[in-house]
């Protein structure tokens, strides 16, 4: 599709400077963009590229002053970066809207149902009593187990596996390869040293506007529900164990893991590769640094780091001191020699 400058200016509430008939069909960085592409200039250190870029349209700040002539058509807006992001969003929305219909072969159980304007890719699987809202995009190789419900406007990327009885809200995005509702890791030790599986008969409940990255795993509850509340954003390769609760608008970076029954508050930020033990609470707004190992509950608003993790500022101080440890050891050794000398001289 082609988008003329005049139409773009309307979307971002901007003012065209140059040829308003010129059109673009895709996006590019200002240092790389070619003809037919739209770019933006927000960071002044990229200004030189503005005068050499082959981009057909460049979005710039209202306040920006040209130092030379430009070939590109400019669109002036209050905030170039925000306007550009808005355009990207609109563009993706349009592309997604166009994706509809059911590719063959797909497996849709007789008791499954779906709303208007859905896309169901080839080799997708909808089990018994699956309910899919309107405008959902179910990519190829997605598995949706029996009795699972998915709200409206959800995007389930290729190869996602959703076990039975899962409940998913509206506008949820799940990236390729993630597994929702696998059995929690529960085994009862037996007298002979072996382990007996504890059946996991709960489910997973996911709120609205949740986004889950690629190849993440969210286990179903032993009994009850593992909860991912509305607005939470989970990155790739994250592990969420059985009966965990993740609060509203909580953000968890890649490869972090949350052990069983831990309750994470709202607006919490968890860094990449952090690990959190089971059966604790993280208060609202708590911050866990990357690679931390959290073994105790954290109060609301507190930040921690380290493995085992504790107060962020104190831990940084200890880490700095640890680097100087060999030197400290040397100083203690010198002191010991001096004190020994003082003691001997005393005699």
């Amino acid at each position: 599709m082609q988008f003329p400058a005049a139409q773009i200016a309307l979307i971002v509430n901007g003012r065209v400077e140059g040829d308003s008939q010129v059109s673009v069909s895709s996006f590019g960085k200002i240092e790389e963009a070619g003809q037919g592409q739209l770019s933006f200039l927000a960071n002044p250190k990229y200004e030189d590229f503005l005068y050499t870029t082959a981009a057909s349209i460049v979005i710039v700040n209202e306040s920006f002053e040209l130092k030379q002539a430009v070939n590109a058509t400019l669109i002036r807006v209050p905030d170039a970066y925000t306007a550009f992001a808005t355009l990207l969003g609109k563009y993706q929305e349009i592309m997604q809207q166009q994706l509809t219909g059911i590719q063959q072969p797909a497996y849709i159980a007789g008791t499954a149902s779906y709303g208007d304007n859905v896309f169901i890719g080839a080799f997708a699987y909808l089990g018994e009593n699956v309910k899919l809202g309107k405008n959902c995009k179910i990519y190829p190789h997605v598995f949706i187990g029996n009795n699972t419900t998915v709200g409206d406007h959800c995007i389930i990327h290729p190869g996602v596996k959703i076990y039975h009885d899962t409940q998913i809200g509206n506008q949820v995005i799940i990236h390729a390869g993630s597994v929702i509702g696998s059995d929690g890791f529960g085994f009862a030790p037996q007298a002979d040293g072996s382990f007996k599986k504890v059946p996991q008969i709960g489910n997973v409940v996911i709120g609205d506007q949740v986004e889950i990255g690629a190849n993440a795993t969210i286990d179903r509850a032993t009994i009850g529900s593992t909860l991912i509340k509305s607005g939470a954003k989970l990155d790739n390769l994250i592990q969420v164990a059985h009966n965990v609760e993740v609060g509203h608008s909580t953000v968890i970076a890649a490869q972090a893991g949350i052990s069983g029954s831990t309750k994470i508050g709202n607006g919490v930020m968890i860094g990449g590769q952090a690990g959190i033990v089971g059966h604790i609470q993280l208060g609202d707004g708590a911050k866990v640094n990357a690679q931390s190992g959290v073994s105790k509950s954290i109060e609301a608003g507190k930040a921690v780091t380290g493995s085992p993790a504790y107060d962020y500022t104190a831990a940084l101080r200890s880490q700095a001191a640890a680097r100087k440890l060999p030197e400290l050891e040397k100083r203690v050794k010198e002191l010991e020699a001096l004190v020994k000398q003082l003691l001997s001289e005393k005699v």
Copy 2:
């Protein structure tokens, strides 16, 4: 399906107190359960919920004394939690038994074979000479490569990928998205700085009653076999490298990784996100704390923590001391000042 109280009492060897005709069809926590659900009371701190629950049946301990009247039918047993877990297990077994037949389209090579009472989901793939035992449940999107054998009563969840020549025992459960038999990470450095692939022509051998979580990866051996012995339980997102051996009834928590050729004994416990270097041994019953980095062999029965990991108790002591390091530094500084003063006064 409906299960009347009398039938449930028979299964758990319990005694009905109240209406033995009342029926349930699912399970719930005592604080959440509704009509038609079965719950249990084991922990005395939940006792209040017993008098307000809408559950139709509640399993309680034989010794438990009611303080008020209850609406629910009670089933009294020696140990309420164990009885409840038994019921969950029976329920899942019944559900699994009912799952049989071959959904279309599935790809089953002409030389593949399978036993009685199997389920093969739509879009499942069985390669040449695959042998599947009786009562196996192969979910949609499972790939089973050429010459792989799977024993009896196995459950392979959606999207599991099993490479060629894998051997899997009986009663094995593999969760969605796991990959069994991918190439080990073996590359020979070349004079020009590049790397040449070392072919990985071994396989993976998995014993009986093994359970493997979601999105885990178990690499095939370079030559010979990567072994996961009977009774081992592996959680989600675990990495097992080529030629590793995991012992009987060893338990490995989520996101842990084992490097190549390491031999792990029986009854070992490895915490989440722990990493273990290659070519070492972990003795029977060794314990590795979460997030530890194990760089040396561990004797049988020993526990380690930290990265690099060492003796558990000593490491905890050092971690505690590390937190007080800035304070220790201050004490050394004060000592230095005092000793300097003593030395100067001496003159």
Copy 3:
């Protein structure tokens, strides 16, 4: 297939000692190999097995001196291990070459194209405008999104998900379950505490001879490209965030994670479970130890360890000192007592 000793000797440029008519069809370790198998002896400590092995053919070093009679046919070469690896490679190449054709059902969009001698497995999905080079092997359940190009001689293992607009070079191997081109983790914080998705409209570009392990995730760029340059080798369960660059012949071990926009040079080695923050540079030949947490750029050729990571040698010294911390604390306490005593005696 059967390979007679004479033919094998030709391939590895070796000399047959014994029956040159004897044939093998597979490979085995010298301590385990049976009749019809080929093995090798490179490490002298395995020499005893040479006299007892049931292997039909054993490759040995030219210089090796027999101490007893052997049943196996020997093939003598300058370097037994290298010759054996060469054979494994040839064997796998032959097996791969034989794998051609398109299994049904597969989904191949009308605008997709592919070269000669490809294999496309059942349930594979090729979107619009997908271009596949010659001799590619696309296993079952692979998803290749619209406008993606794949070069010649690539092997894409079962269940790999490649999003739209990805560019993949020649002789690339991607193992099962990996996800290429998922959205980067980009969200703009809003005034109400929620997060708004930043559209990710860039792509992933992968060079030649790259190998990617199982269940890894490589996110597409926000704008521009996430780059994995030629010769890079990535292990299982690795996370590569948006706009990252991974240099030529860089090796990354399992479960490591690279945060957004970080540039990794050529010939870098990154250990398992290491984590690297965003927006930094790792110079050519840098080395990152397993489980390290890299928070600052690393100069070319430097090695680091620890979390947070710093100079390898210094960090090892500090780690060693940390183990003796409780002892150091005791020494300081003793010094304090002595100094106190000296001070009091002075009075």
